[in-house]
């Protein structure tokens, strides 16, 4: 699958841009702050119905405007699909595929798989478990619609259950556990199925991840992603029963798959504490490459790969390794770089056709096109 054209209206620093991309390698060069990453974000938005970098849609609107619009034409073999997104302040976000509006945004997710590798990805290692859960949920949701529906329902039931705990706390009255039973039943059923799906996924994910990690890092230390859930030791209903006193005290639910985590292990040690910055970066890139391969395998076509400022962070050996993959494994690719000579040199080296765009303050110009 590849993105053929992109039209942006008042998206971040792009006022009105019409772009046509190469089905293979697109290099976006420009100074810091020129809008390279914003362009990647617009592509990401079309795939995930939200920004990768901004927490709200409002932040994606050009300052002083009240809306933004993105249109992308995707091509897969001989079929062409047009995806548009319209966001207007104070109105419902609208996503359309070939002019047909989605009733639920979740229906769109997974149809246009995109993998983004960005410098701040190490947050997966360094920050809380929520980011790690979101990363893996994001992949599984793209493979399995039922998983996504279950997750949405689980979160709704969890919100209501926590709301009821708060209600009793605010009133200072004794908790009536009968009122919780229907939530508990719902959480158990959905939670068990989510737990099973996550467990199965990590079994599929691990060998692919290890393959890429060892490809990027030439040594034999073992790298592992372990799925960690309290459900491994007890049933959902027993777990909920055990945490009741804590639930009352903290006014939220303290047992469930919303507390799951993924442990990153490098040679028997926790990556977060003992891994060097380089090891952490390679670990995260290997996870993203595994994400790419698994999506490719399940969808039957290659996702779009977005590489944000990646060459800055890697040593020559890893860059060489990554370029080998670019040459053989990947489909359409978008690379940003502040230094055009470097990227061009690297790409000439592997001899793959590429198109270079120059970006300056939200204006994009075709810089160089190399067709083979």
């Amino acid at each position: 699958m590849h993105l053929e054209t992109l039209h942006l209206l008042s998206f971040k620093n792009y006022l009105d841009e019409n772009l046509r991309f190469s089905p293979r390698i697109n290099v976006l060069v420009g100074k810091n702050g020129s809008g390279k990453t914003n362009l990647l974000d617009a592509i990401y938005y079309l795939g995930f119905t939200k920004s990768a970098f901004s927490s709200s849609d409002q932040q994606c609107i050009t300052q002083g405007n009240s809306y933004f619009f993105i249109k992308g034409v995707f091509k897969n073999d001989s079929t062409t699909k047009e995806v548009t997104s319209t966001v207007q302040l104070g109105a419902k976000k609208i996503f359309r595929e070939d002019s047909l509006e989605y009733q639920k945004l979740s229906e769109h997710i997974g149809k246009y798989p995109i993998v983004l590798i960005a410098p701040d990805d190490v947050y997966l290692v360094n920050e809380g478990s929520e980011g790690r859960r979101r990363f893996f949920d994001g992949i599984i949701s793209q493979l399995d619609k039922i998983y996504l529906e279950n997750l949405i329902q689980y979160n709704q039931a969890l919100k209501l259950r926590n709301g009821l705990l708060k209600l009793y706390a605010e009133r200072g009255s004794a908790v009536d556990w009968i009122a919780f039973e229907s939530y508990d039943k719902l959480l158990s059923t959905l939670g068990d199925s989510i737990f099973k799906r996550r467990s199965a996924f990590i079994i599929e994910f691990s060998p692919v991840f290890q393959k890429y990690y060892h490809f990027l890092v030439e040594n034999s230390e073992s790298a592992e992603v372990q799925y960690n859930s309290e459900l491994k030791g007890k049933t959902f209903s027993a777990g909920l029963m055990d945490v009741r006193p804590r639930d009352v005290a903290l006014q939220r639910t303290n047992f469930g798959i919303h507390k799951d985590d993924y442990d990153f292990i490098l040679g028997n040690e926790a990556l977060k504490r003992y891994g060097s910055q380089g090891q952490q970066k390679s670990f995260v890139i290997a996870m993203k490459l595994a994400q790419f391969e698994i999506l490719d395998l399940h969808k039957g076509f290659k996702p779009i790969l977005l590489l944000d400022d990646i060459f800055d962070k890697l040593d020559d050996f890893r860059i060489a390794r990554l370029l080998e993959l670019i040459k053989s494994e990947f489909g359409q690719l978008f690379i940003t770089d502040a230094r055009p000579e470097r990227t061009r040199g690297l790409l000439n080296h592997i001899n793959v056709p590429s198109t270079v765009f120059n970006i300056d303050q939200g204006k994009v110009t075709l810089y160089e096109q190399q067709e083979k």
Partner: protein
């Protein structure tokens, strides 16, 4: 919006508090009242005042009533062995209009909805429990007729737990495809449920 008179503004703000009425509609209604005869407006406000001060809720089923016990609870023609639990008075009217039901009601006054600050004790569930606990209770079947939402299901689940030893059987209204509708237009969940809950042809 700027109004030519403070009196109009006050009236518009009051009317606009009603459900389904925005500021523009409220203004239209207020101007309409001014344009028409004075008596009409007073008749309206009198009716509203009287409604508010005299309206009662049935002591037994909590339905809206003119008397301490509503006409359904006092009627000799109703079957006291069947009791239908509903959210509010609108639901009683809806079920009455079907002419398919001859039992009595219990209006719980809403559903358990933590996000809106409604817990089980805010509903008339205790009164249902004590109603079924009474020695002279003849109830053999309780029908739960609540909204088919997560909140409605939670409430039904809770009520079921509280009353399961106090009555013969507890049933819920069927969920399925509407009469006169096309199957292809029914949503998947409803259609799926109606397949699972299918009934014998006769």
């Amino acid at each position: 919006m700027d109004y030519p008179s403070k009196l109009i503004e006050d009236a518009v703000n009051q009317v606009a508090k009603l459900p389904g009425i925005g500021k523009k509609t409220a203004l239209r209604l207020v101007l309409h009242l001014i344009k028409n005869k004075e008596e009409n407006t007073f008749a309206l406000t009198q009716a509203l005042n009287k409604l508010r001060s005299s309206i009662k809720f049935c002591n037994c089923c909590h339905n809206i009533s003119d008397t301490d016990l509503c006409f359904i609870c006092t009627s000799h023609k109703r079957d006291r062995r069947i009791l239908c639990v509903v959210e509010d008075a609108k639901d009683v009217m809806a079920i009455e209009n079907t002419s398919q039901y001859n039992g009595v009601y219990h209006v719980v006054g809403g559903v358990i909805s933590p996000m809106n600050g409604v817990g089980p004790t805010d509903l008339k569930i205790e009164s249902l429990v004590s109603r079924l606990n009474q020695e002279q209770s003849e109830v053999k079947e309780v029908i739960l007729a609540l909204s088919p939402t997560m909140e409605g299901d939670t409430t039904a689940f809770y009520i079921n737990k509280r009353i399961k030893d106090l009555t013969g059987k507890i049933t819920v209204i069927a969920r399925g495809v509407p009469v006169g509708g096309d199957l292809e237009y029914a949503d998947e969940i409803t259609l799926g449920r109606s397949i699972l809950g299918r009934t014998l042809f006769n």
